[in-house]
Symmetry: C2
Subunit: 365 residues, 2 copies
Amino acid sequence: MIKFSVQKNDILDALTTTAKAASTKSVISALEGIHLSLTGNQLTVTGYDLELGIKSTIDVEGESDGVLVLNSRLICDIVRKMPSGVIRFDEYEPLKLNLMCEDITYSIMGINSEEYPVLPELSRGESFEISEPLLKSVIGQTLYAVATIDTKPVLMGSKFEIKNNELNVISVDGIRIAIRKESLLHEDFDFVVPAKTLSELLRLLSDDESKIATVSVDRNQGIFSIDKYTVFSRLLEGDFFDYTKIIGMPSNIEAVVNVRELMECVDRTLLLLNDKIKSPVDFTFSDNTLRVFCETAIGKLDQKIKCDYSGEEFRISFNSRYILDALKNTYCDKVKFLFVQNTALKIVPLEGDSFTFIVSPVRRR
Amino acid sequence: MIKFSVQKNDILDALTTTAKAASTKSVISALEGIHLSLTGNQLTVTGYDLELGIKSTIDVEGESDGVLVLNSRLICDIVRKMPSGVIRFDEYEPLKLNLMCEDITYSIMGINSEEYPVLPELSRGESFEISEPLLKSVIGQTLYAVATIDTKPVLMGSKFEIKNNELNVISVDGIRIAIRKESLLHEDFDFVVPAKTLSELLRLLSDDESKIATVSVDRNQGIFSIDKYTVFSRLLEGDFFDYTKIIGMPSNIEAVVNVRELMECVDRTLLLLNDKIKSPVDFTFSDNTLRVFCETAIGKLDQKIKCDYSGEEFRISFNSRYILDALKNTYCDKVKFLFVQNTALKIVPLEGDSFTFIVSPVRRR
């Protein structure tokens, strides 16, 4: 029976992080649990919902080795409400646990650990290292374009593609494409990580340049080692969208726009839209001016901002939210708008090719 | 047709505050609106849902007098999303309004102001002045005990009772009573203010001792003048609960408890409760010790804290949330617990009688 003492903040951190991977609602109650396993002074804490797993090993003062599964929400809440200091976990009878801190004793029931699933183990496979902030950036800038409906399940994740010593991270939802490129020395290979895993990775990844994450892949499993945490994830399988064709199409119209100004303009159109009332935002480029217009049953909005454009007057319409999502993820002051006739807008940085965000226009009747 | 120019922040403040009194959903669309009325350079902005009204008059640069009603949510959102600076309101055709700021023009429809209700006018009645922070405190400390179900509608508000140059503010929901007392020189009178009005007053009242609010009452209407705002409210009518009997009952058991410590103990019991699983928290007082215990299907919690108590062992049970609500509103480090046999707990300050919070115990089977 498991018995140990631990600093509140050490175990709270491990519990709340691994709890992100536990099921919130499952017919198998063990899947709603967090798995604790003590060997000596090493406590391994695991959350796993069969798709995503997060594991962490922390130092504790061990008293008696054992394993126990606890309801994740309850154990996180209990530890959070304990005073700062040492908490003693004491399984005094099989599956009966006392949690003690000062003059406070919670008594709760554990869940049989035999019902808990076994985490996949990687045999061998591809593996690469990448700095935490870089991994955070390539995931964070492309996650917005992942498909949210499962007409093609493989598109509900981002593709990591290593080719010619370059890492491309690509998300596609049918109307927009986000591509983020960085150099990475490794043999060619690729895999698709589900959006839920990517969201959890974003929470765990730091902005500290000196921290290195390791990414390992073995058939349909990915393992991300980030600081104290190991994230296990099922990978998505299937034919991903071939984005190279649309990326390669030449553009014939080009403008440079101020990102913040244009975001504010497009954001103002949202007041004229709701779940029932939809209308695209119209962009009209003329001599160094971009007119941003929207009209619905709620009202009309007409705005003009400056931009770098010198060509014939050119008008094109988009879904306001798609333009906002793309602009927000550029993290640039200014970007280039490249139009491939009337079939696509490519948003790229003024210099280099670190990202390409593609948005399909709305065809006007 | 109404035409004026105004600083964004001046009108945004007036709009968002008065919008609190506009209906969020009504069959009469004018009630979802904010009423604008311009005379010279004075713009009066009003929200009113027939129960609660908030009015403010601000300085603008008037161009053409007029009245217009605008959908409250839409106009607040539009003004909020405009750049800082001067916004021009221009009713260019009846009920058609342009809102202009820099190179941005929103065009929206107004609502016919003839459908807008007339605010009640006070003929004469009782009136008193009170400092804003004091009014905020007497409302804020008693609001928690207002009844939320309308079995007796008059209890869905707090009673303001002036008697013998004392103001008592009283809330009662059947299981608990909150009473807050302050001296106030005025003839005897009383009135009951609905909880919704009290919540809005709390938002408007400042902590500035130098600011004075005026409270006026005429039959079933109350008017609160607070800084730039005038709040109109229907008052509740009916026989209020007679709290004097229970207040007067002598207590036979007394303890002094630390508010923060006890709140933390009772708060921990909430983890063992949910919508389906309910159980009271048990207090057992013995030699300078208070044991706080709770047991449900989720688990068991046993805690001990110090308190000032010297009598026979005494056990009593309460609803955890009711104890937390009362303790939170004491704003004291320590309070006195006075028990009227097993029928009621009175929570009072160590000195004086500025508040009395009464909670009925849960009878154990």
